[in-house]
Amino acid sequence: MELFETWGLTVTVFLPVVGAVLLGFIKRDNEDSLKRTALLFAVLAFICSIVVVVAFDFGGTPYNTYQFEVNETWIGAINANYHVGVDGISLPLLVLSTFVMVLAVVYSWNHWEEPKNPKAFLILMLILATGMNGTFVALDLVLFFIFFEIVLLPMYFMIGIWGDKSPRKVPGFSKVFETRLYASIKFFLFTLFGSAFMLLGFLALYFESGDHGERTFDITQLTDLGASGAFAGWSVAGWVFAAMFLGFAVKVPMWPLHTWLPDAHTAAPTVGSVLLAAILLKLGSYGFIRISLPILPDEAVAWAPWIAILAVIGIIYGSLACLAQTDMKRLIAFSSVGHMGFVMLGIATMTDIGINASVIGMVAHGLITGLLFFLAGSMSHRYHTREMARLGGNIKLMPVIGGILAFTAMASLGLPGLAGFWGEFMSLVASYNPLEGLSLGVFRTSMVLGAIGTVLTAGYMLWMLQRVNLGEPNAEWDDHEFHDADRFELAAWVPLIVLIVVIGFYPKVIFNSTTDAVTSMVEMVFGTDTTTASLTTTVKGG
């Protein structure tokens, strides 16, 4: 166990990439061994993360203390270290990441999109896994940045090579592009654009930290500095926050930096969409919580109303855009803009309730939207179209897939009792009473608009069900034989369904991990215990 204390996270992070290397030695046409090896390593990484959970001390250690911590000198010249660790905030996300990866490999088993080539695809997936896992445990800005960027390449190739080949007319260009090319390049450049600024922000922090001791990229040290107010009088702190904001906001994505997302999601192969929705988007919101807030708390507070406004615009805008979609996958993609709006609204309140809301919102969105993309993929695999006008009566043709789609749509619209509810509800709770000093006008308006957003969300989800699932099937499918969900699909989906229900009825599985870390973070960083300050508990009887 002691060995695991030091090596656990490293193994969790790098097992997949080891798997990827091994896959390189397996012959391309030996599909079975390729798949088994990939699955083995994905499962091993998942098991490691579960061991981390089991051995994790949920005893309420103060913020900025990490478990399974490793801190080794890496690039001495710039004082960049191999520093990894988990706390209650990153733990659920790490498990989500390893977990969804296993399901993605299982699902891939017999779902290869053209041009197939399982070997290359699996290698990319495993590299992606390392990048995602790594981002959630990195405690050094350089390390974080590298993991954050590693993720880009495999996803870029997944979209660009296995993506949608239909032609796409881009307004303002005479040339017609292939959808996958347009989408993949847009995704890559957009994210890179944000990352460049983010890196800039990291470097600025590095140099500035020199004024308070040795220059460092270390997140824990920078957090200590930030929380103690060392960066308070820093003249360019606002710009630094803005630079990091760009990097994270593109990834989330926040309105109006979201336009890469519908294209990337729609064009990506099924597994790509799933991973993109389930994990990649969370890298951005996680960055806000882990880096922006604790290190530059004053700037975060100053920016909070703007973040809230953008988040709420995202909720309303994303939902309205969904109502105009004709492509099922694109509709689901746009729904992410709205849902991540709730996650960001929670963060913007800078309270323990809000940040807890955002973490459970991230997990829920990962499970639910991931499942929706699985379903959309399986359906377009069968119908060879995603146009909702041509679908309809799906539940009659494929009762199992249709039933799961109905369930997931309900989860996505935030039905209480399912996972999606808590993040939305608690974001609204937090918005009613944001961190002391934040504009009540802005946040309470956000609360009302956010609540209205849930109505729009229900609207487009029901409308999607009406067009896709219900009614009589379109006459063009009369002669088609459809096979309902196969065992690989079910193996990938059922665990998601179970978790959506379990978290819905017992959100403690997430809060148990997050609440102490978040509460002590808010105390440490913003200097107030917001819950107790704003809530006066009356007698609890008995």
Partner: protein, 684 residues
């Protein structure tokens, strides 16, 4: 597992026994009442898993679950009748944020909750049994019974809720089941749209419920009803500051579920679901959830909002009970008649609770559940026999289906408020409360509503059961499995009004008022000491007038009931037939604005936000070309190489992607970052 005793009980005890606590705690039945909440969900899963293989397609599982539930509900109901059950709630924590924000699930044991347990399980069981016969041979039976069980479970979660969060979970759960069952015949998109309408109207109202809950929860630091009650009774200042807003928001939520004007528009459309669904959900139980919520949070309204929010609530309830009742006069679909009637009766309940008549409103909720479920099941029996919903296809059915006829007569009379049936007593109590609380004008509206109720029910009975049969099927009495539930509901429709005769304290079981919990927690509402004869007579005269007038119009001249043109008053008749055009206006506004707005948003996405992105991409590519050809080739190197490479790779990558030369990106990226770093370091 924590046991919390309702603070009102503590308060009552502390204040030196204004009220003597004589109640028990429900004992074994109270401890294990969670079984009622769990069983329907177990049934739901079991039916989905292997309902198909069973003889009744899973119906037996659904019935068994509710039968077992009824044992618990019945035991608790009896305990509460005889010795009373103390206000307690059993809860367990499902989530905790920081020190104070706690989410809990659990079950409440007090008069109100126990009354609802009994109601839901008793009516539910009879309707489920009825459905075994009614739905026989229909499509997707396992799904029907599964969704029906899901409803029962969610409804019990709702009424058992010790806090607002659990209430919301149950609240939206029943909404979900309602959506599923309204759209049960989803091959027809009209039914799907009816389900969508129900869900969406309720979702709009739920904004009120959720925001109200948020405000109360944050203000009090707890979502518990017990905490809310205590704060209200103690006139807590923080609560007082938000009471008006929170109370109005909660009421808005209640308006949706309990179909109050103008949010009632979903309920008539909800009749698209199978008739047992209409009986149980859209008449007897689910739609009363809003009234239930107003009762659950009664102390908030009673202590803070008597002057501010309540008059509005009474007004909305009064409009609902009268104006929507009128619509039942012109409907030809027998289920629509009953649906409008339900809306109207919900108006009565809401008016009563809003006026301060806690017991009166809930008593009407209680009696109404039996006779309205009975009427719906009777209508279902008729529809089953004649294969049509349209009353103009019926007539003369009393000879063909005597059981249905007589039970329907009982239900109609109870609904119309004919002495001494259940509806008479509960309606009379509402009139008394309105009178006592000073809402005299509203009381007269309620009297007029009683007239209208009797009037349209007489029309309904006359068109359906009297005259000559005008349809084409061969009507027959329904099988016993459907007839017995009718009788099972007819008995309480006759008798249960006697439970709350003002001033009467039945030996051993006391009365409904006491069951609701005055043993432990006085709600501060008015309980008349004895029956008010004047009001009883006024109400009865109105009802009898309605019956007589209805009979004069539709009962006589039985064969030509169709041609009642002289009744069709110009202007008024089209207005009523058009449902006051509310549906058209609402749908017109939603349909007319949402589509264009959504398309506009999508347009901005494609042409503005994406347009900017594409323009930047295009411009960069152009710039790259210009830099490369114009500058780089003329010998400028250094950092500009990097810039050029970045820009060029961005542009040319469209071509080169398939060759996978990602190193170009990498170099561009590194170079670009380098420039920025250098700029940064040197500039700052």
């Amino acid at each position: 597992m924590i046991t919390a005793i309702n603070h009102l009980a503590i308060l009552a005890a502390e204040e030196g026994g204004h009220v003597e606590i004589t109640a028990g705690d429900g004992g074994f039945w109270g401890e294990t009442a969670w079984i009622m909440l769990v069983l329907p969900f177990v049934a739901f899963l079991a039916i989905l898993a292997f309902g198909k293989r069973l003889k009744n397609q899973g119906g037996e599982i659904a019935v068994a679950a509710l039968a077992i539930n009824l044992v618990w509900a019945g035991a608790l109901f009896l305990l509460n009748m005889t010795e009373g059950v103390l206000d307690t709630s059993h809860t367990f924590e499902i989530g905790r944020i920081g020190g104070n924000l706690v989410f809990e699930l659990g079950w409440t044991l007090d008069g109100l909750a126990i009354m609802m347990y009994f109601l839901v399980n008793f009516v539910g069981l009879l309707v489920f049994i009825y459905a075994l016969g009614y739905m026989k041979g229909d499509v997707r039976l396992p799904w029907f019974f599964a969704a029906f069980s899901l409803f029962a479970g969610a409804m019990l979660v709702l009424v058992a809720a010790p806090n607002l969060v659990q209430l919301i979970i149950g609240w939206e759960g029943v909404g979900l089941a309602s959506y599923f069952l309204i759209g049960f015949y989803w091959e027809d998109l009209e039914n799907v749209k009816a389900g969508n309408k129900a869900f969406m109207v309720n979702k709009v109202a739920d904004v009120g419920l959720i925001l109200g809950a948020v405000i109360l929860g944050v203000t009090l630091g707890s979502f518990d009803f017990a905490v809310l009650d205590l704060a209200a009774v103690e006139h807590n200042e923080a609560l007082g500051a938000v009471a008006v807003v929170a109370g109005a928001l909660l009421f808005f939520g209640a308006m949706g579920k309990s179909a109050q004007f103008p949010l009632h528009i979903w309920l008539p459309d909800a009749m698209a679901g199978p008739t047992p669904v209409s009986a149980l959900m859209h008449a007897a139980t689910m739609v009363t959830a809003g009234v239930y919520l107003m009762a659950r949070t009664f102390p908030l309204y009673q202590n803070f909002l008597v002057e501010s929010v309540r008059p509005w609530m009474v007004a909305i309830g009064a409009i609902t009970l009268f104006a929507i009742g009128l619509l039942a006069l012109v409907a030809n679909d027998i289920k629509k008649v009953l649906a409008y009637s339900t809306v109207s009766q919900l108006g009565y309940m809401m008016t009563a609770v809003a006026a301060g008549g806690y017991t009166a409103g809930l008593f009407h909720l209680f009696t109404h559940a039996f006779f309205k479920a009975l009427l719906f099941l009777g209508a279902g029996s008729v529809i089953h026999a004649v294969h049509s919903n349209d009353m103009t296809d019926m007539g003369g059915l009393r000879k063909h289906m005597p059981t249905t006829f007589w039970t329907f007569i009982i239900g109609s009379a109870a609904l119309a408020g004919i002495f001494p049936l259940a509806g008479f007593w509960s309606k009379d109590e509402i009139l008394a409360v309105l009178n006592y609380e000073g809402y005299v004008a509203v009381m007269w509206i309620a009297v007029a509503g009683a007239f209208v109720t009797a009037f349209y029910m007489t029309r309904c009975v006359a068109l359906t059961f009297f005259g000559t049969y005008k349809g084409h099927a061969h009507p027959h009495e329904s099988p016993r499995i459907m007839a017995w539930p009718l009788i099972g509901l007819a008995i309480p429709s006759v008798l249960f009004g006697l439970f709350n005769i003002p001033g009467v304290d039945w030996p051993g079981i006391s009365n409904f008022t006491t069951w609701l919990g005055v043993r432990v927690a006085p709600m501060g509402d008015h309980h008349p000491e004895s029956i008010e004869i004047t009001l009883a007579i006024i109400g009865s005269v109105a009802a009898i007038l309605g019956v007589v007038l209805g009979w004069l119009i539709w009962g006589k001249d039985r064969d030509t009931q169709r041609e009642r043109d002289w009744f069709k008053v110009p202007a008024l008749y089209p207005l009523l037939r058009g449902k006051y055009y509310l549906d058209d206006v609402a749908m017109g506004i939603v349909g007319g604005t949402m589509g264009p707005v959504a398309r506009f948003v999508n347009w901005t996405n494609t042409y503005i936000f994406d347009g900017i992105v594409n323009a930047v991409g295009g411009a960069t590519k152009y710039l790259g070309g210009w830099v490369y050809n114009g500058l780089d080739q003329r010998g400028v190197d250094g950092v500009f190489n990097g810039l050029s490479a970045a820009a060029d790779s961005a542009g040319s990558s469209l071509r080169k992607l398939q060759t996978g030369k990602v190193q170009q990106y990498a170099s561009g990226f590194v170079a670009g970052a380098l420039i920025l770093v250098l700029l940064f370091v040197f500039v700052i």
